[in-house]
Amino acid sequence: MRKLAAAGIAVLALISWTLTSCQREKRELRAAPVRRAIYGDAARQSELQPGGPQTEPQVTNPDHANAWSISEGQRLFEWYNCVGCHSHGGGGIGPPLIKKHWIYGGQPANLFDTIVKGRPNGMPAWGGRIPEYQVWQIVAYVRSLAGEQPFAATPVRTDELEQKPTTIHNKVQGETR
């Protein structure tokens, strides 16, 4: 009887352990840390290709360019203080992100690398700090700043201080560098 009870407790414990670990497993699957190596390191930084052009590894943002990930990316851009150095895309300490011409490349894989590995002149290396799926959401948002995402998926309104027209000193609009 005692033996049976002990076995029962053991089974119950095993079941509950499997259940919780299943949930954990789910989360980890989502984070898929192995992708960093595949996507990030393949990002090409130079247009020059010795011995002629090679096929560029196709890297797509696994979170796709949907409204959910872009708006999550926008939230995370504030949350991780990207906004402190890049403002709302216009730049400050860091370069502007509303632009077409990137120092380190504007493809999703380049942006992923920029965020995870950092860049020498003051861009922090966020690898190990921001979960990978969130990095992709931020990538999606950063690309939306440069108008590289489907218009329909891009958030209409940002949460920043709204512009009061009378206080714009000189209306230089639509400028992209």
Partner: protein, 589 residues
């Protein structure tokens, strides 16, 4: 007979002037420029008078020097022993130029190789405000929080001391002051939640003799039994802890990126601390001592003698780091040892520097954020309608860079006027949640700036410190972000962000001469006697800094909040100037 009479006259004028010579503003002057503010009293006044109001119109370019760098050039060139010393913005190269040879060729060059990553923690461009010469060495700070000592003759590094950590958001941009064998330096990082400090280093060895924090318990702030502040509100134990909630003082700011002055008679140094962090004041209830505070300390020990908080519980990023000009003035029939401090909050504080009492605190710039300073309690009466927090407040004047920012004023003992280069900016401010991640900005505010009343974004004015009023003011389209220098020739020099280097009559403000430089001027002009006995005027051009980040940092002004909101006020700067650092030196033909 005639001769005798003149001599008698001279003697009597000398006699009349005798008490004046004892005044701290009448500093000895050998025609050199050994520290950014020229002298310990920080007057930026030169007794050279070859260039004067009558002949300044003939001023011509003598020679130039390119730094090859494109960020903001805020430093003052130094001139000692016929050598000119220039510190560049990051990577903080130190050049020594030989003034005895035609065209002033490079004598030597010293490269400290600061960490490139430090550029990420420089809130407002990777500027440097210059070096200080002392006993055969040149001392200055690098962006990555090192202080270095370089042999003035050989350019060899004598010592190099690391004082802080960029991974805590610390950087260094200020110019040291060397007093009694101590190199006094402080950190930057008020936008990164640093814990502010000022430190005294042994000039011989570079070892840290003392460090005075701006927040925390009295023992860290170097407040002891000799601390005697004038006002009740500054008295009490451990106010640097008690005026904060919990342990937020540990990331509370109050950085020491300040100008420092020294009174040898009283043996006191004077400096102010920067803003508390984050900008959003609702995140840090309390007075937030000792941010935005003027301190008087002993140079050898750092011991605090008095303190006065200019902006308790700062709600507008009004750092207290601006210059303190030391003057002995006759106020209401009494000779008062004062310091003149034009604060970010737009008021000119004339204070008794022996004890920290406010004598007057009248506006020198347009403001609506405060009503007055209560002279009994010393407390600033804040306009509650302009208090920021978790909300949006509009039409706040002055804006975050203040009535004036770091750009230093000068004082002429001939005119008894203070020449203030300043801003005319207002802002809208939206407080948001700030998330502390060490090494990243800790601000919690979206800001947008724009020109104040009148539409001009800057002004240079002459302020009478005895009668506490502005005597004349000249409007500038852009913020007047360069220092001023004034001479015995009654000429006032300064530069503008659109690249004009100007000479004004110091009594009227009339423009006498101007020269268009290659890039906007945000540096500190100096004047010196060359080896040929001629008077020269020198200034670095090279737009940038917080105000010029729009050009130097290639900001996209579609986002008005860029560069902490300065972008919005400067959208047209790129039409007036481009970037690039060049030294210009002028002389009469």
């Amino acid at each position: 007979m005639h001769g005798v009479r003149t001599r008698q006259l001279r003697l009597s004028t000398l006699f009349l002037m005798a008490p004046a010579i004892a005044q701290i503003q009448n500093q000895p002057d050998d025609g050199q420029w050994p520290m950014p503010a020229k002298n310990y009293a920080s007057t930026r006044y030169s007794t050279l008078d070859q260039i004067n109001t009558g002949n300044v119109k003939n001023l011509k370019l003598a020679w130039t020097f390119s730094t090859g760098m494109t960020r903001g050039h805020e430093a003052a060139p130094l001139v000692v022993n016929n050598t000119m010393y220039i510190v560049t913005p990051f990577p903080n190269v130190l050049y020594a130029l030989d003034l005895t040879k035609p065209g002033a060729p490079v004598k030597w060059e010293y490269q400290p190789h600061p960490s490139p990553a430090s550029q990420g923690v420089a809130c407002c461009d990777v500027v440097n405000r210059g070096a200080a010469y002392y006993n055969g060495r040149v001392y200055y700070n690098t962006l990555d929080v090192h202080t270095v000592a370089v042999d003035a003759n050989t350019g060899k590094e004598v010592w190099n001391t690391k004082l802080g950590d960029i991974n805590l958001g610390e950087s260094m941009t200020m110019a040291p002051l060397v007093v009694k064998g101590k190199v006094i330096v402080g950190n930057s990082g008020g936008e990164f939640g640093v814990r502010g400090w000022l430190a005294g280093l042994d000039a011989d060895t570079g070892t840290i003799a003392w460090r005075a924090y701006a927040t925390g318990p009295d023992k860290d702030v170097l407040i002891g039994p000799n601390f005697k502040p004038f006002y009740e509100s500054e008295r009490g134990k451990d106010l640097g802890v008690k005026s904060w909630q919990g342990d937020t003082w540990k990331i509370g700011g109050g950085p020491g990126w300040s100008w420092i002055s020294y009174d040898p008679g009283l043996d006191l140094i004077y400096y102010g601390t920067g803003n508390p962090g984050p900008w959003n004041p609702d995140m840090r209830p309390g007075d937030n001592k000792w941010a935005c505070t003027l301190f008087a300390r002993r140079p050898e020990t750092g011991e605090a003698i008095w303190a006065y908080q200019l902006n308790p519980h700062d709600v507008h990023d009004y750092d207290g780091i601006n210059e303190n000009i030391l003057l002995d003035l006759n106020i209401k029939g009494q000779t008062r040892k004062v310091l003149a401090h034009p604060d970010r909050n737009g008021r000119m504080y004339i204070m008794d520097r022996t004890n920290g009492q406010v004598i007057t605190a009248e506006p020198f710039a347009f403001l609506n954020t405060s009503e007055y300073v209560d002279l009994n309690t010393g407390r600033l009466k804040v306009n509650t309608a302009k208090v920021t927090g978790f909300k949006t407040v509009r039409d706040i004047c002055p804006a975050a860079p203040g009535g004036k920012d770091w750009q230093p004023s000068s004082f002429s003992p001939k005119t008894n006027l203070i020449y203030i280069p300043h801003n005319n900016l207002c802002m809208e401010f939206q407080g948001v949640q700030a998330n502390y991640i060490a090494g990243t900005p800790y601000v919690g505010a979206n800001v947008r700036m724009y020109a104040g009343p009148g539409g001009n974004r800057g002004e240079v004015s002459a302020y009478d410190p005895v009668n506490a009023k502005t005597v004349w003011a000249v409007k500038e389209d852009f913020p007047a972000w360069s220092g001023t220098v004034v001479t015995a020739g009654d000429v006032l020099f300064y530069g503008t962000m659109d690249g004009w280097f100007k000479a004004l009559d110091d009594r009227s403000g009339n423009l006498l001469w101007q020269f268009k430089a290659g890039s906007g001027i945000i540096g500190q002009p100096v004047t010196y006697k060359g080896p040929d006995g001629k008077q020269y005027v020198a200034v670095l051009s090279g737009v940038g800094g917080w105000a010029g980040a729009v050009v130097a940092g290639g900001i996209n002004t579609q986002d008005g909040t860029a560069a902490l909101g300065f972008a919005n006020a400067m959208t047209d700067l790129g039409k007036h100037t481009t970037k690039g650092g060049t030294l210009y030196v002028f002389a009469l033909p």
